[in-house]
């Protein structure tokens, strides 16, 4: 269980996240809100990539137990590397800088590629993938990482419907395996359908709780008029 206790984060001089309290247990949780509400900052703070200005985050596992998928991926997609080698870097926390991936890590990478429907592309270079295939490759790397906490920043942006369905299947698999999955999402219908818990950030005070209460029509209107 991860607890946010009155967490605030600065982005430059402004407070991007202000006094947020929430708790995330095993299963799917969403972070929602309008643009500029601090969703990405919040997620990065959970990933240990953004400092917390005040308040505290407790209950996080060790760094290699946290899987993080950045928005529109900061990974260099033109890097001259084969897909299976790319995916193997998911095991960095276990393998480290100075060893080669073991036989079992190789197999883990292969099965993750198959899981995401990329087995045939294992020896292709990353640069040849479409953006949807690349997102599946990022998911395969997360599968290899085998983290107990998985943080996803807008995982379904720039992918087609078929790819999205495949990625959602993987989210549900992670949920069934008892992992903590937290995703930043724009699509409120999707959140209502799949995510039982939501943290809604906005210009007003953040709201946290069961999705059916947090994403009620009223609060959405309130946010819109505030914007």
């Amino acid at each position: 269980m991860i607890f946010l206790n009155n967490v605030s984060c600065r982005q430059g001089r402004v407070l991007a996240v202000e006094n947020v309290s929430a708790s995330f247990g095993p299963g799917l949780s969403a972070i929602a809100g309008p643009n500029g509400a601090g969703k990405t900052t919040m997620l990065r703070a959970l990933a240990g990539l953004h400092p917390v200005a005040s308040g505290s985050i407790t209950g996080l596992p060790a760094a290699h137990e946290i899987g993080f998928l950045p928005q529109a991926s900061e990974a260099d997609r033109r890097f001259p590397i084969a897909c299976d080698d790319f995916v193997k870097f998911g095991a960095w926390g276990r393998v480290g800088a100075f060893a080669a991936a073991s036989e079992s890590e190789q197999q883990r990478a292969q099965s993750a590629l198959s899981r995401m429907g990329l087995a045939d592309l294992a020896r292709r270079s990353v640069a040849q993938l479409s953006s949807g295939q690349f997102q599946r490759l990022m998911f395969a790397r997360l599968i290899v990482q085998n983290a107990s906490v998985i943080l996803l920043d807008e995982p379904f942006t720039a992918v087609d419907a078929a790819t999205e369905a495949g990625l959602i299947d993987q989210l549900m698999a992670w949920r069934d395996e008892g992992r903590i999955v937290i995703a930043v999402l724009h699509d409120h219908d999707l959140i209502r359908e799949l995510f039982p818990t939501t943290l809604l950030l906005g210009r007003e005070a953040a709201r946290f709780g069961p999705t059916s209460e947090v994403l009620a029509a009223k609060s959405r209107r309130g946010l819109r008029s505030a914007a």
């Binding site: 950045p70 900061e74 990974a75 260099d76 590397i81 870097f89 960095w92 926390g93």
Partner: protein, 284 residues
């Protein structure tokens, strides 16, 4: 044919220059491949200009000793690498104008210092000379190649991940800075290793030209590195012959050959060359 290709190497000075350049061809091009992948080609430019004042100051203290000039160049190169890092951070990645400022300043300071010093032939210092590869220079180049290859092997995996996805490395507990710093030290070493034969203005040529040529020969890192080394070896051998026969400085001669290889690769190489693009267009 024999007279053209083989007999010039019966001269000891040319043989020494060849061996030195071949040693450099093993380490500089792989570093260049990483520089191009990391979009740091400009940094190499800054560094080679940056070592010039150091080399000149080294020559002031120790005369034309390769060790003094090399040590001065190494120190200046490390300082400039630090400065470049500061500029990159301060400008949020829009570093090109700051870099231009640094290398113009360094070039002016270096030329000013070197021309005050009697006995320094500015042409040799800037553009290299096969005659400059004495025993000390040869040992320096071989030592740098040996240290560089070992160092690159040590940081390899970290450097690949740090180039590919720095965020993953950071999220997995950091350490990216170590690999970046180690890499910069290796690049400075290779630039210093190149200046005796190639000249300070040309020393990154053997690093960058084979590296950008290699992009047209493979879509994978290992293939690109192999191709870059082959291109550098060819450039060194043919370039020294050109230098010998045409009586031009070694640096420009080697770089002209390397540049020719790059242009040929751009035209007909199997990857993203003009020819492969034309083939794809014809296919559509």
């Amino acid at each position: 044919m024999y007279d053209l290709l083989i007999s010039p190497f019966s001269f000891l000075f040319l043989r020494r220059a060849l061996i030195g350049c071949l040693a450099l061809s093993l380490i500089a091009p792989p570093l260049g491949v990483f520089l191009t992948i990391r979009r740091m080609s400009l940094t190499a430019d800054v560094l080679q200009h940056g070592i010039l004042p150091g080399v000149a100051i080294g020559a002031m203290f120790g005369g034309l000793s390769m060790w003094w000039m090399g040590a001065g160049g190494l120190l200046a190169g490390l300082l400039v690498a630090l400065l470049a890092g500061v500029i990159t951070r301060a400008t949020d990645g829009r570093e090109d104008s700051g870099f231009a400022g640094v290398y113009l300043l360094a070039l002016a300071a270096g030329v000013a210092l070197a021309s005050r010093e009697r006995g320094i032939d500015l042409t040799h210092l800037l553009f290299g000379s096969v005659l400059a590869v004495d025993d000390a220079a040869l040992i320096l180049m071989a030592a740098i190649a040996s240290i560089g290859l070992f160092g690159l092997a040590v940081i390899w995996r970290g450097l690949v991940l740090e180039s590919l996805d720095p965020l993953l490395l950071q999220a997995q507990g950091g350490g990216g800075m170590r690999f970046h710093a180690g890499f910069m030290v290796l690049v400075v070493l290779a630039v210093v290793g190149g200046f005796a034969a190639l000249g300070t203005l040309m020393s990154v040529g053997l690093m960058m030209l084979p590296a950008i040529a290699a992009r047209h020969w493979s879509r994978f890192l290992s293939g690109q590195i192999l191709a870059s080394v082959v291109a550098a070896v060819l450039s060194s051998g043919l370039g020294l012959l050109v230098s010998f026969h045409a009586n031009i400085p070694a640096g420009p001669a080697i770089l002209l050959v390397a540049g020719g290889i790059w242009l040929a690769s751009l035209a007909i190489g199997p990857e993203s060359s003009l020819r492969s693009r034309a083939l794809i267009a014809a296919h559509d």
